[in-house]
Assembly symmetry: C2
Homo-oligomer: 435 residues x 2
């Protein structure tokens, strides 16, 4: 056995991911040393309450509640506590004492990423976060390194496993949102409080991280437009199916080129959207994730795999630990995030996409002309209209597919439609992505 230099690894957090990371660090220590060129010694695991130690098969003596002491002298700090504080404070302390950081903390990076990357830059430390954007799927390195010589024009990601599981079950079973959510909770795919997933807060954090990296621009979380999936019902899924489409919660990060030569900007948004079944993202089933990237030279690329899960996410964390160790062995300073493009982020109202508007209207002569007039006045151009008459009640249903329209125009137009005497109800308004 080669006598490798020893590196001290401190772990913060022993939850689903943390306990797997600790277990794998101990189990595969010799193999990891060959990969890293350094012996990775797990020196301790900081937890809030050491009674947590009894739940996992790890040596009791590794556990401590004194995170600050543990951080002293660590070469690599793995932060898997989640949340903003005390994670942020510990990470900044570790950076300042010379450690490299590995974290899966998407909430922290989406809100305090700049602060952390800047602190690391100042001391030449590195921050690794492959596990923060799409679980086990390698997407950070491809964006940061493989595509560094290319220009990313668009990312469309299914980055939340819980919502994809729910939408997929609704699609395959025709079930309603509430029923599938209940199932997902019983099976452990959704939390007891599912808000972070179904209201797309989790996806929005990941979108902010992916967009920052893809466009070399700091994207604050509150610049990400966000809509969850709670309004999606069985009828909308069924209607999508008839049009050979499927509804997915998409994180869309897009580079926009102004027609007026005013330069580029970006849009970052998360919402349920229709995509055609022939699109590669449409066949991402269950709790899987996938990130579809369109780059100027490389063309379309897709990265697919498990988006969550303790052991799956641990794989990404350990890859980062090996990278951090290799950097320690190689010497040199860490290379920080390049955010020098700093493109402006446009508000959702300026974004253009296609829409599908479903209306219940009175079934009488001239209605279609009235609707068409409202759309036209609003600057929304119609691509397709399908009309079905509900038997007996004097109501017709219109499904209108638009050409590309500005979100603000569309929104105003939908208000005008809702106010029209011939419109009984705006059944749904869905964006269409993936052309």
């Amino acid at each position: 056995m080669i006598d490798y230099r020893r590196l001290r690894v401190a772990l913060l957090g022993a939850g689903a991911v943390g306990s797997q990371v600790a277990g794998l660090l101990l189990k595969h220590r010799a193999e990891l040393a060959d990969r890293a060129g350094a012996d990775l010694e797990l020196v301790g695991i900081a937890v809030r309450d050491t009674s947590a130690a009894r739940d996992v098969e790890l040596p009791d003596e590794l556990f401590t509640t004194d995170a600050e002491s543990l951080l002293l002298g660590a070469d690599i700090v793995i932060e898997l506590m989640g949340g903003i504080e005390p994670a942020r404070g510990y990470i900044l302390q570790a950076i300042n004492s010379g450690a490299d950081i590995v974290t899966a903390n998407k909430a922290l990076l989406a809100t305090h990423g700049s602060e952390i990357f800047d602190a690391a830059d100042q001391v030449g430390a590195s921050v690794y976060y492959e596990a923060a954007a799409a679980g086990a799927i390698p997407i950070i390195r491809p964006l940061r390194d493989s595509l560094a010589g290319d220009r990313v024009n668009r990312i469309m990601g299914i980055v939340n496993g819980t919502t994809n599981y729910i939408l997929d079950r609704m699609d395959t079973e025709g079930a309603d949102f509430g029923d599938v959510l209940k199932q997902a909770q019983d099976l452990g795919y959704a939390e007891a409080d599912p808000t972070a997933d179904i209201e797309a807060y989790d996806a929005a954090q990941k979108a902010a991280i992916l967009a920052s990296l893809a466009f070399h621009t700091t994207v604050p979380l509150d610049a990400v437009y966000r809509e969850g999936i709670t309004s999606i019902d069985a009828a909308m899924i069924e209607s999508a199916r008839k049009a050979d489409m499927v509804i997915k919660l998409l994180a869309v990060c897009e580079r926009l080129t102004a027609n007026d030569g005013e330069g580029e900007s970006i849009s970052v948004r998360v919402y349920p959207a229709l995509i055609h079944r022939s699109h590669p993202l449409a066949s991402v089933h269950g709790a899987n994730n996938a990130v579809f990237v369109e780059a100027e030279a490389a063309g379309p690329l897709m990265f697919y795999g498990a988006g969550a899960g303790g052991v799956q996410t641990a794989s990404a964390v350990l890859g980062d630990v090996v990278s951090a160790a290799r950097r320690h062995v190689a010497g040199g300073v860490g290379v920080g995030e390049s955010t020098r493009a700093n493109l402006p982020i446009v508000p959702i109202g300026h974004v253009t996409t296609r829409y599908q508007i479903t209306l219940e209207v009175t079934d009488e002569a001239g209605v279609l002309a009235t609707i068409a007039g409202i759309l036209s006045d609003g600057g929304v151009s119609v691509a397709t209209v399908e009309q079905t008459v509900e038997p007996g009640d004097g109501t017709a249903r219109l499904v209108i597919g638009t050409h590309t329209a500005r979100e603000a125009d569309l929104s105003d137009t939908v208000q005008s439609l809702a106010a029209s005497a011939v419109v009984r109800r705006v059944v749904s308004v869905l964006r269409v992505e993936g052309d």
Copy 2:
């Protein structure tokens, strides 16, 4: 504009990829500097004949036939000449004069990879080759870095665009191999001499590179078992379709765990194989590539995109150039390939997989029992048998699906079948992958 340190970049070769790389280096110089933290100055392009310069829109003065002089003083050398010599000599010269190497030369890496990586290790240089394995698809960094803390158990890759185009057209059109090959040549998807593609030499080189990286083991090209697609005909594709399968040229890199506790070994093989249509690889159409990776912790991952093309491959090359530049800026030594596992590579005869055997047999009583006896004697266990009788000519067709069998046993058994009086013809023997 930031005053970046200047790095001298020398390019060897100005073919389809090289001319795109040169063009993008010049066009995006400012943006690349922001990404790399260094100004990338293209100092020259070595070609065999400078009249080639007239075909591409690049400044004449960049071209030279004196590669050796160009290499002197280069910080980063991009080798896109292809072939073994003089590429090998130039790369070794460049390494010894302190440059980092970026190459897309799969033939060279598959045959002389160890020599080149060792030379780089000795002087602390780095060798980047993202473009050598699957064109624009980022697969090298995920294998080398993202999965460095995990254990790859299997890779199944569609890594040759030409053969995937041919097999896909045969599948969608029911056309025969020769006709589709002719079409592919007319459209520029296949070379005038298509041997490297259709006989799977190209795929075998990529398999050697992927397996070396995934298993941390030097895999020489001649340890890769190789079969091309020239024997695939329309009848085999049609028969696959009936079984809800599709035929793909697969590069399979597999970790084998011995039952007798003798430790692990690996198998690397390239051949046309049946996979079920529900497998993600089955929906890789046209000239696209995809690499499906099964890792112990991460689970299944898939990487999809363009496997060839000048500008697409240039994206991967430029990503490597930026990585090389960042390393120069960061300081420190390059981290070489870790091949410390050095697992034994088993010959194809020891590999186990499932098979589909199609036979023409005499249509008489007792034939099935005879065939079953030969298979059983040969140690090949039958999973499914389907018999169809050809009208009028006293012949029946048997399609036999086997359980997992050893290749050597299967091969002997097929010889026994062919020699049997009841077998008129062995129509096809295909491996089945993807369970």
